[in-house]
């Protein structure tokens, strides 16, 4: 973070930051927006936001959770915009998400990993976020709490509820 304060080293430090976090953030975004092109756009926008806000970044907050917070907000904004554009045809969100998952060239209906992906699409947006951050990114409830501005107790309840629903879906499909 000290490099960001030195103008001559800011670009190099940012490139380093992008290299370090691009893959983690990409998958976090991809799990939300589902399609690669959309994930790429949201990732680009997220890093642009990061660059513009670097001067105001407080070192007392963790860089990791701060990046996730920006990527999460960008993803949610993107999803909202997409929903608004697709109004009538977006009535059954879970079905639309499920179809997007199935459209992937690697999709295999018999593979447990793909069943998990389909199961996650049945969750409401917020529950999906909590589940992804805990299950895939293996974050502590404290970290998730900083990203989503929600109490740890509520997050734990949300995650347990989501995990049970996902398991039930996989067992019955």
């Amino acid at each position: 973070m000290k490099q960001f304060k030195i103008p001559s080293q800011k670009n190099a430090a940012f490139t380093q930051l992008v290299k370090q976090y691009q893959e983690k953030l990409y998958w976090h975004i991809r799990r939300m927006v589902l399609e690669h092109e959309d994930a790429n756009d949201v990732l680009q926008n997220s890093f642009i936001k990061v660059w513009n806000a670097l001067d105001n970044f407080r070192e007392d907050s963790q860089l990791y959770t701060w990046l996730y917070r920006i990527a999460t907000n960008e993803s949610l904004s993107f999803i909202e915009q997409k929903k608004r554009k697709q109004t009538s045809s977006f009535d059954d969100v879970a079905e639309v998400y499920g179809n997007t998952v199935k459209a992937d060239s690697n999709f295999n209906a018999n593979q447990l990993e793909w069943k998990l992906q389909l199961a996650i699409q049945q969750l409401p947006e917020k529950q999906k976020l909590v589940f992804n951050l805990r299950y895939f990114d293996e974050m502590t409830y404290e970290q998730i709490s900083k990203i989503l501005d929600t109490s740890e107790g509520a997050l734990k309840a949300s995650y347990h509820h989501a995990a049970k629903k996902v398991e039930e879906f996989i067992k019955t499909h």
């Binding site: 690669h36 990732l43 680009q44 890093f47 660059w51 992937d104 060239s105 995990a163």
Partner: protein, 163 residues
């Protein structure tokens, strides 16, 4: 440490999920992460997403736009002013209808003074203007007289003559 906690937590809530690999399964273009970059602008003041085109705002043309806008506004204002101040019927003495003079006219006397030919001529003109559907051809002066008298009952005629 956290990973162990997550496994134990899932073991109690949804153990099946502990058996699934967490490796991403979705397709990503080959070499995407190797070639991914966020383009930083030369002046270091901002960065551009790859592929986004910078649109140069040509400020030298700005005054043309302002002049064109002023001309359009001028035309609209002058046109509107002329429209509002157009000479109306009430301000043109030749077109003013003098209601006092009209009130003084004795309608019955004026109608009596008209010849049958003049009334027929009026009805013909009215028929031509009204068109075939609304034609008043049956209402020539003679036809009106004959029809009306034939349709009046004797009682009504007696009553009329006694008045």
């Amino acid at each position: 440490m956290e990973n162990k906690e997550i496994i134990q937590e899932l073991e109690q809530v949804a153990p099946l999920l502990n058996t699934i690999a967490k490796k991403p399964v979705q397709s990503v273009p080959a070499g995407y992460f190797d070639h991914f970059q966020v383009q930083i602008a030369q002046d270091n003041s901002n960065i551009q997403a790859t592929g986004a085109r910078v649109v140069n705002m040509n400020t030298s043309r700005k005054w043309y736009t302002l002049v064109a806008a002023a001309v359009v506004i001028g035309i609209l204002v002058i046109g509107g002013f002329n429209l509002v101040n157009q000479p109306t019927i009430s301000s043109n003495p030749a077109l003013v209808i003098n209601m006092e003079q009209i009130a003084k006219i004795d309608i019955n006397q004026s109608v009596q003074a008209l010849s049958n030919d003049a009334i027929d001529e009026y009805l013909k003109t009215a028929n031509a203007l009204a068109g075939p559907e609304n034609s008043l051809h049956q209402y020539t002066v003679d036809a009106i007289s004959e029809t009306t008298v034939a349709e009046i009952s004797d009682e009504e005629l007696q009553l009329y003559l006694s008045e």
